[in-house]
Symmetry: C2
DNA sequence: AATTTATATTTGTAAGACAAATTAACATTT
DNA sequence: AAATGTTAATTTGTCTTACAAATATAAATT
């Protein structure tokens, strides 16, 4: 006669389904590039309706855990999550954190300085020839005066990522990917003039040399120089931007206006 | 005669809606605890069906950006995202990263050591009296022999979070929250014996004193001692666990079996 | 043989209905 | 009059059914 109802499953069905699927992915039952059953199939297996399954899948899609394609050979597949994809995901979270807690980019920048210094020290110890080659390649890209500023910024990101990777501490470089990405808006704002590009490229050149020579003190000093330089440019740019902001008009129609 | 269709919006409707809503939250149009329009209302405003709106909302719910309640005073509300909620979100991502890239917890642990050392240095410089009080309070909790091991672990987490916060670099402490959380499984595994608890508590006591005295060299040394001690315990525990693992049976029915 | 055309499969979107939860107002009883 | 129970309204949660759009495979046609 004991009912054994216990604590009722309060979570919504779609959440329960999403959690089970995520668990399966995390645990390795579903590996990268595996194809999930079709939505109809999942609905039958979980004994819920297809919209419920879809809501669950959207939850996972928001986390970049799965991708979907239509058609006969389509379906839903498990994503292979490398540092890139996951840190992209992390970046949106830290962007949120920055915007909602009103942390200045300067504060983020100081964190980056500390952590990237750490990377540099480790990189000086652990860098391999192939690490150095990668950094050389990006450096050459940056020396080309014909690339757009977007391309320059992308090469800049890859250069700093290469430093992080050269630390050969995967967790650390994972976190660094996020910080580098989080500060891209700053880099985009300021890397449009040739003179600044040249300064940055020259710094990279010296930085690479010092890592090559395993001179970690010099490396961290150059890094500090660069980040402080960027901060300074950023503050100037922000001052200009403030003025433009004052007489700007609303561009997109507001969905939530009355 | 120019059609101007341009690149067709290839993203699904639910994704577009989700992106617009997220943008509104990020930008500040929708503030914390604001209530969104009802789903029917949103469907009308965005000119899509309610299931589409719901899929969009689930995407945001997966990111912990919103919460929903049923009923007349219910609806969908914007979450206030503090360090806690966001780092919880980050933790699942880094857990994924750890599990999918086969990074050993030892490697994560070494990253934590480096970063927490940095926190300690900054904490020695910047700690305020209220920071120290917080750490004292957690330390007293840990000295109580009557608490469960879960409570002990929780107090341990709060102690280390307090160190991170004492650095007064919010971005750094944000990242540290994630790392501390990511290593909780290890802590849970080993903090069940009184003897180990006492050793850890004693280390915390010395750590707190050195931060109080602003002796950053001593602080980082003690921290290193603790983390290496934990690593050692973890390796022993893992060796034991390997044996148990071999004769374990599948607990949950596999949804994806044939 | 190459190209085009059907066709089947699968996700994406829509509409309508009902269930469940929860609040607010109202009625009832003490 | 106050406490309590009841009802009604509102909102999210879920289900059902249907159709649209994309796309790979197989068939048909040139």
């Amino acid at each position: 006669m004991s009912l054994e109802i216990g604590p009722v499953n309060k979570a919504s069905l779609s959440k329960q389904v999403a959690d089970q699927l995520q668990e399966a992915i995390l645990e390795g039952t579903l590996k990268a590039d595996d194809r999930l059953p079709t939505e109809d199939d999942l609905a039958k297996r979980f004994q819920v309706s297809r919209p419920t399954i879809r809501e669950a899948l959207k939850r996972l899609a928001a986390k970049n855990l799965i991708r979907s394609r239509r058609g006969p050979a389509g379906g839903t597949f498990v994503n292979h999550l490398g540092k890139g994809e996951l840190s992209e995901h992390l970046t949106t979270a830290s962007t949120l954190f920055v915007s909602m807690n009103q942390i200045s980019l300067t504060e983020v920048s100081s964190t980056r300085l500390e952590m990237e210094s750490l990377c540099c020290q480790l990189a000086c110890q652990n860098r391999t020839p192939s690490d150095l080659e990668l950094m050389e390649a990006e450096l050459e890209q940056q020396q080309n005066r014909n690339i757009t500023s977007e391309e320059f910024c992308a090469a800049d990101v890859r250069f700093h990522r290469a430093i992080a990777d050269a630390s050969h501490n995967r967790m650390l470089s994972f976190i660094m990917y996020t910080l580098i990405e989080a500060l891209q808006p700053v880099a985009n704002m300021i890397a449009y003039r040739f003179r600044e590009r040249e300064i940055i490229t020259a710094q990279h050149k010296r930085l690479l040399a010092s890592i090559k020579n395993q001179d970690s003190n010099l490396a961290t000093a150059i890094l500090k120089e660069q980040i402080e330089y960027l901060d300074q440019l950023h503050q100037e740019a922000q001052a200009n931007h403030q003025q433009k902001e004052s007489n700007k008009t609303v561009s997109a129609p507001n969905i939530f206006g009355r």
